[in-house]
Amino acid sequence: MQNKIYLVAQPNSGKTTLFNLLAGENCYVANWPGKTVEVFQAKIQHHGKEILLVDLPGINSFKTLGREEELTKEFILKEEEGVAVIILNGESLYRSLYFAIQVLEMKSRAILAINKSDYLDKKGVHVNLQVLKDRLGVEVVQISALKGSGINQLMDRIMDILEGRVKTKKLKIDYGALEQYIVRVEQILGDRSLAIKAVEGEEEILALLTEAQRSEVEKIKKEISQKFANPEEIIAVHRYKFVEELLSSSVKEVRVAKASFEERLDNLFFSKLGGVLSILILFSTLFIALSVNTGFPLNLIMRSIGYHAFAEILEEYSLAGMISMLFGSLSHFLDQNFPDSVLKDLLTNGIIAGIGAVATFFPLVLIINFFVSLIEDSGLMTRIAISMDRFFAIFGLTGKSVFPFGVNLACNVPGVMTSRILESDGERLRVALASPFVICQARLLVIILLAVFFLTPPLLQSGVIVSIYLLSTLIFLLATKFYGKFFREEKSELLLEMPPYHFPSLRIAWWITWTRSKSFIFKIAQFLLFFAIFAWLLEYFGIAELIGAIIARAFSPFGLEDPRIGFALLMGFFAKELIISSLAVSFGTADLVQISSQLSLTIPQATALIIFIAFYTPCAATISAIYSELRNYKLLLFSIALQLMIAYSLAFLSFIFLSFL
């Protein structure tokens, strides 16, 4: 028999910290059948014995219906051999215990680990473990996952349970007036915890029963509902009473002065200035992240104040700069040293280009994940979410949406990924689907270039760019609302617990960043490679030109029927940067001034083109990222059609409008 233990905790209890401490480098992400939730597992050793460690998703409650809650609940209900390691958050013992006793009602093979003992010591809180142990019927240990204390003792006690040296039993809580009914349901079901769940009204439990059992249970439930309006409320009240008695007999607190700085910071976040402060934090973070990655926008600033050499260094030695240089020289090397063939062409222009695209995304995904986990870990994320909530609530979103939105301004690929921080499935997918409407950095560069060379009046240049930004924000928000029609709940309501502020642990932040980014990149890499080969096929067999001509025909109402533009737009569907390079190839010059004079576009034509480019499907990588979240081809295709339609209509409207002026 395999030794198995699984971690169960509410978010923020320190589950990841403990897992990381126990697992070290031996962890892998398990793909669970039929679930999109990622579950970490690791094989660990204790005194020469091998143990499988499973990290279940952190859940707030057994009642919400997110995919993570479902997975965790299902696991706990089904698991028989393994030992549940329930991690309590020392910062909120009361809530943690309320959660823990619900697990203990279901499981006898369990152990409680009160985490953050360092915090408790600092606060002068003393917990009497013996009292807890006697009342709860399971082992209780105190640990600090951060400082690494108490871990050996925890593992020893776990081995005791695994090897049958200690007997533990299921917790029994008295539910007062409901007891007689629970006992009757228990007689039918043969299990008290299932009986309680049935009385609480959990439909899944009923689905497990035979026809005869179900009708018996339904009868009892009807009796209950005749006497009590809200039986689940009675259950909750009894649980709280139990926890209160438990705490008052086991916890002694020596009162310490409040951290007044935290209070003052909180008051600032909740005031009218909170929004401004949040935006300031977000944008400076974004600015730093981007400058590390591509040098942009810091390079433009340096250039504008005359430090040209510095700007060049920034561009060349930025992460993206170095990676694209690497892949550039790789294709160049192949090109020089091998005879021309289809295979070489596929390799250099298809496969290496595809892998290169994945590689250039990776640093940005890493950097952004790192900053997001720092903000999350420091306690700032909830404060920022709260201060932005008022605004986002207008569109049925929670304030947390500001994070995916902000990241989308840098790049839609990590932007889509960041939507995972949103609690409800509906909100997560709505934001992911609407992400392409936010103008990313790559598109910004293309738009700026085209505006500078195709639109001469400077006022018009900046006017067009600013209106594109305002419009895209509005369309993003409206789109999230619109996509709500496809999901169960249209409006998401904020319900957030605020962790105390603290200095984030770099080690943990990096570990989270690394594991998250790795699995994400592998997921989208396969799609990106597919797109790269597909694009290569189109080009190699001359189909791309044909499609380009068809696209150009669609733009004939604007007088833009040049097939070279159509071809550039087709390439732009795969990656926006390709618009400039494919224009350069088909015009035989990289000089945008020459291209512009050859095309000689009127102001309405150029504006329409720029607006179309700003709003249509950003790139193959974003499509891949959305698909890996959504797993729904139809809705994905629909969203692409919507992007094309909106881009075209906006281009058309701006063309008409400017033609009249």
């Binding site: 707030n60 409650s61 057994f62 009642k63 919400t64 219906l65 910062e91 909120s92 013992l93 009361y94 809530r95 309320y98 959660f99 609480e200 009204g201 809200n230 689940e232 409320e233 909750a236 009240v237 649980r239 709280y240 909180d266 909740f270 909830t382 979410a385 709260i386 909530d389 008022r390 609530a393 929670t398 304030g399 409006k491 309501e493 904020l494 319900l495 957030l496 617990e497 605020m498």
Partner: protein
């Protein structure tokens, strides 16, 4: 009617209006009838303190929690 949305300071929860799932979800956050909580800001969102934790809740949720004066 006095709810979490329109009160301030220490209050006792009297009743929570909503379906089973909703009531239990709030209970998991420490919001159950009989509990005394402290409203710190009316927001939106409403900020409350339950025992040792601060919680932010949207207006729509706050409106469904009926309260009375604590003392």
């Amino acid at each position: 009617m006095k709810t979490l949305e329109n009160s301030f300071g220490r209050v006792r929860i009297k009743e929570i209006i909503g379906g089973r799932g909703f009531v239990c979800r709030l209970a998991d956050l420490g919001l159950a009838p009989g509990q005394v909580v402290e409203v710190l800001s009316n927001g939106p969102p409403v900020i409350i303190k339950v025992k040792d934790t601060k919680i932010a809740i949207g207006r729509g949720v706050a409106r469904k929690v009926i309260v009375e004066n604590a003392e």
